[in-house]
Symmetry: C2
Subunit: 220 residues, 2 copies
């Protein structure tokens, strides 16, 4: 049994790549591949083979030079560290367009994330149906988190409310927050925050489009 150790020491860029490895490995295993070469993972993800081997060595998975990694083992280890081998309960705060869309997002359900409640403060929205759920008043957050032992929350609220909502979530016992708001959220040590902002991703994209246009001009 190969046990990943000292997760907390794995650098952030590596952590961010792990879900991408998992997605590829799952796909290739479904297609019947028994072994996976670091070179193939590298090619599919636009990395170098040495980056891939270094990344995976953090999980104490090692391949052989000739055949690479055993697909089943790689998938098992990645699934374990990313929690993809069990079900996670998640609450969503904010039943706007984005919150409602995520509550019904098939990708999350299919990969073990069970949205068990969606909350809002707006009386006009509370009680409204979202898939199989009904929007609950935010005041019921503590009760739901405690009763269902929820560890994860998605905050899909306006930027101005993000910090207050995060504070409530932490006080209720949430250990990890996916923050979708365009505002920085600070939490006490021991709670994890991942920011996933489509606006920032679009700005990153604009930057890359500019960088590529610049390269084209230089080549001329």
């Amino acid at each position: 049994m190969v046990a990943p150790q000292a997760w907390s020491r794995i650098p952030e860029p590596v952590v961010r790549r792990l879900p991408k490895y998992l997605s590829l490995v799952q796909q290739w295993r479904a297609e019947g591949a028994e072994w996976i070469l670091s070179a193939d993972l590298a090619k599919a993800l636009g990395l170098t083979g040495s980056t891939v081997r270094q990344d995976l060595s953090h999980l104490k998975v090692t391949g052989t030079a000739r055949r690479g990694y055993r697909t089943a083992e790689l998938e098992r280890v990645l699934a374990r560290v990313l929690g993809a081998d069990r079900t996670w309960k998640v609450v969503i705060v904010g039943a706007g367009n984005l919150g409602r869309a995520l509550a019904q997002h098939g990708d999350l359900h299919r990969h073990g994330f069970k949205i068990c409640a969606i909350f809002d403060v707006d009386p006009a929205v509370i009680g409204r149906k979202v898939g199989d759920l009904r929007v609950r008043p935010f005041s019921e957050l503590d009760e739901v988190v405690a009763a269902e032992k929820v560890k994860l929350a998605i905050a899909a609220v306006p930027g101005a409310a993000a910090q207050e909502v995060a504070d409530h979530l932490v006080a209720a016992g949430i250990k990890g927050i996916l923050n979708l708001a365009y505002a920085n959220v600070l939490v006490r040590p021991g709670v994890a925050v991942v920011n996933a902002r489509l606006l920032e991703s679009l700005q990153e994209l604009v930057f890359l489009v500019g960088a590529q246009a610049e390269q084209r001009r230089k080549r001329r």
Copy 2:
């Protein structure tokens, strides 16, 4: 006039942090700050001051040791490289829950991203109202992209359709794709892809929650 140069050489993790700097600088400027210290940016983003100074030096912005960066200049340079100083037309492909939510996402509109069309292939969805838009048949993509000179697209389609949609977008003249699907998309050099997958962000969060639980165990 300080001009950012050689954008294409700026490392990816730095690029990914630039929108976060912009968001903070905008916020602090709105609050009246004339100068910003790298130490304050570092603290707000959980970085070291030296990382902040290195990151910003890529944009040829330099601060003074005592007062830091001039807020207005820093905002102007960041806004320029991230395209936040102009309006960008964006098409969305996929009028499912997520595509429709993004078409109406206030954060994008407020920050210069104008969704000018949303497409789908499903006859049951085509013609449906989404905010001020109506869902158009995907077959009209080329026409819209050419007529409106659109450079950016958001692909909010199922994983199985992601590559085909990306190929269509590139053929239509799109230069940057924000891919929301849980599938890797390959495009020819000269086109940029940014993946923004909420599933991956949730998996990253699960990893961090696990890492922090591990740290707590060790401290005991």
